[in-house]
Amino acid sequence: MALLEVRGLEVAFPQGRRAEALALRGVDLDLEPGERLGVVGESGAGKSMLAFAILNLIAAPGRISAGSIAFEGRNLLDLSSDEIRKVRGDRISMIFQDPMMTLNPVLTIGTQMVETLQAHRRIGWDEARKLSIERLAQVAIPSSETRFDSYPHELSGGLRQRVVIAIALLTDPEIIIADEPTTALDVTIQAEIMSLILRLCRENRVGLILITHDLGVVAEATERLMIMCAEKVVEEGPTRAIIDTPDHPYSRGLLAALPQRSERGKPLNQIPGSMPGIADLPGGCAYHPRCERAYAGCHLEAPALEAHGPRRVACFRPLLEKAEA
């Protein structure tokens, strides 16, 4: 049994008076202890929705309309709001995109760290302070004792994100969900932050769900990869294998569109059109209007995620390059 097991998760938002539109359409996800999983998709693919849904943080009028989220054998959706608070931020921590939005601007970093600890542990102020400073040092924040008393605005973007990581690690969580943790940062800072997250996850055997639009980042950082398109998982499997030989046409399109993968002076491979909105999804496979391999059947029925060796692909005509070769 995996540490985290998500089955058939659906999130619905009301549309008009009666109807509902699905912002997540039946997503399965497994995470073993210490495993690093990447979730990749374009904006609107539902990847952040997945992160929020796992922590039962979908705000009204949205709701989780189907599925289960088993963490250590307990369904998080059955817990009362008091009980889930003991899991959220304690056993499962989250790192968001913009550190300026996550940190409270009117409290010192120290206050916010001690507050987090005291919300989850019976711990005195002095001890909490000591532990917090230790964590700040662990994420390589220079002169962590003085930084403990700083306000967020006194730090640069990179340092702020380090503070957020230190807070996420305070309670020794089993899982960290990182939603675009480096998108707001510069490349050199991104490399610093990602190598820090990787090192800490490895050292403490923390599971990582890394949500990003950047295939380069997941290729560097994760072992397993899920590619999402139109609120669904279209391909799932070992990161290396998907990057090298994508089976789903959408995965291949995304990879081929990267300048890293193209020849200089030649036009980039582009996917025509753009992602459909959740309110006007086409029938059948949601990707078929953009797909080069689509045939008549793709318009009628949505393909299910089917296993092909260690990978699962949701496509009637997957590329399966190894089989053809």
Partner: protein
Amino acid sequence: MTVLVETRGLEMRFALPTHFLSREKPVLHALNGVDVAIHKGEAFCIVGESGCGKTTLGRAIMGLLAPSAGEIDFDGTRIDKLSEHARRPFRARMQMVFQNPYASLNPRRTVFDTLAEPLHHLRPELSGAELRKMVEVVMLDVGADPKWGRRMPHEFSGGQRQRIAIARALVTDPEFVVADEPISALDVSIQAQILNLMTKTREERGLTYLFITHDLSVVEHFGDRAAVMYLGQIVELANVEVLFDGPRHPYTRLLLEAIPKLDGGSFDQEHQPGELPNPVKPPPGCAFAPRCPLANERCHRERPNLSVTGATQVACFAVEEGRD
């Protein structure tokens, strides 16, 4: 090769707000003596991280900011001191595409009005029919349906909006386009569409591009020459192939190493925390010295200038002295 745009010793200083009784008058140095010569027909890229001055440089060349010192030439004429009236003919010849198509299009104007506006302003002699014709031609050029003209920006996706923004830049038939991070607000699959469109318009219209970006992998694909900026200075300038195959400046190397690669290997290295120094109180010597593994005492004291080293121009004492 003819030079189309040239800057000499361009400096930009911004006085920061202070308390009215304060004796300190802090000044932010956004550009510290930038010399670039952009050749006709090339795609010249400016790369750097936030706060390095790349956007300021683009805006200064466009005349959206008045430089504190230095000169800017366009096609042999000095343009930075021109009056608004004398500058007008140049405005039609140089245009700009901005980063965020959600902010750069007026939400209360139809697409046609947005596209016709530069022509109304810069070519008032055109008749209504000519104007409509020109707008239609440019829309077809960028892959926009002329029927879009009656619609409002909110009806379009990010990629479509950026096409409209590019059409607006091209409608006056410019020779020179400054594109400031034109694809960073877009999704990966849309980025490729827009980059291809820019390449196509460049070939068809013989455009010269100043492409401002933080993303080195785009530079490798799109650019002919590239300048790497750090804290208001150019630290390395070379042909794109040279820059990628043999980066000389330690900062260029750091940037290239930091790109997440599909083959992996970049995040496994230990990265020490490094930050851009405070541009209000820049270090006395080389701006990169506090982060530089090769820095010695001279680097902390003196500021290196861009000088030709082999096939590239580098501003680094370590390279000059052969310590790299």
